[in-house]
């Protein structure tokens, strides 16, 4: 059976995507001991908080607010007034590399190792 050029391209792209994705997912920094929650708004650092201390605060961005709750070693965006609510629907972040992004408010909540730049 002859395989058409288009089919070949589909197969190559699929293979590359699966392979690339697997590599990136496996090549994650090993879980360090101390983790911090880094909050950035519009590319600027807003604050860093230890993940093991419970905290409940509201980030005021120029586009709206996001209520961030840190509890039991997890960080989540509990409430926000953004139109798509994607940040609120994102699962809690607990491992290094986990992120919660609110594009309309240009806000990123991510778990980073302590003392990382």
């Amino acid at each position: 059976m002859a395989i058409g050029k288009s089919t070949k391209i589909i197969l190559i792209i699929t293979a590359l995507a699966v392979l690339g994705a697997a590599l990136i997912l496996l090549w994650r920094p090993s879980a360090g001991e101390a983790k911090e929650v880094l909050v950035t708004v519009d590319g600027e650092a807003y604050g860093r908080y230890p993940l093991d201390i419970d905290r409940d605060f509201t980030v005021e961005t120029p586009w709206g607010y996001n209520q961030v709750i840190i509890h039991d070693g997890q960080a989540e965006v509990h409430e926000a007034d953004c139109p798509n609510q994607i940040c609120v629907n994102t699962a809690s972040a607990s491992e290094i590399g986990d992120m919660i992004v609110c594009l309309p408010h240009r806000l990123v909540v991510e778990i980073v190792p302590e003392d990382s730049p």
Binding site: K5, S6, I13, A21
Partner: protein
């Protein structure tokens, strides 16, 4: 109908269909590891447009549906992402269609490349706006993986649809 009028009506119908598809898609919850990831049903329309209209009209359909869709449904805050990704991926689809030799799977390949380029563009723009490269690497694997079933599904639907659209003998060129 005069040809110009016919083309205008056809472009308008495609734009309206894409907007409705986009809206309907928003109603279906997607339990995925990447919240906000979508099937991209509106790309069915881009695909049909790429196979029935000259390239400036294809880009016009994409621009019109994203801008009108932003005003009606999704809000202006995400227009930058949908507009850039929509235009760049439509360009990639048009180019692939031209470069790649025909065959039954061509439209699937065109759609797949469209889906991948769409996700890549959106992610790149997001990482640039957020000034955060880690966002790019965190979402890249998931968005590439999800683009494959989404692109092939859209391509399959587009192929079915084009069978009927071609029977209409639109002659909108």
């Amino acid at each position: 109908m005069r040809r110009g009028t016919r083309t205008l009506v056809y472009i308008s119908v495609l734009t309206a269909q894409a907007m409705v598809l986009n809206w309907v898609e928003g109603l279906i919850p997607m339990p995925l590891p990447v919240p906000g990831a979508r099937l991209g049903l509106a790309n069915i329309v881009t695909l049909v447009a790429a196979y029935t209209l000259p390239w400036p009209a294809v880009l016009l359909v994409v621009a019109a549906r994203t801008i009108l869709g932003a005003f009606l449904f999704s809000g202006l805050s995400t227009l930058l992402y949908s507009l850039s990704a929509g235009l760049v991926s439509a360009g990639a689809m048009l180019l692939t269609r031209r470069v790649l030799r025909g065959g039954g799977a061509q439209i699937l390949a065109v759609s797949l490349i469209g889906a991948i380029v769409h996700n890549l563009t959106q992610l790149t723009v997001a990482a640039l706006v957020l000034e955060n490269i880690r966002v790019f690497w965190a979402y890249l694997p998931w968005l590439m993986l999800l683009a494959i079933p989404a692109g092939l599904f859209v391509g399959g639907v587009g192929r079915l649809l084009l069978k009927y659209v071609n029977k209409l003998h639109l002659r909108v060129y």
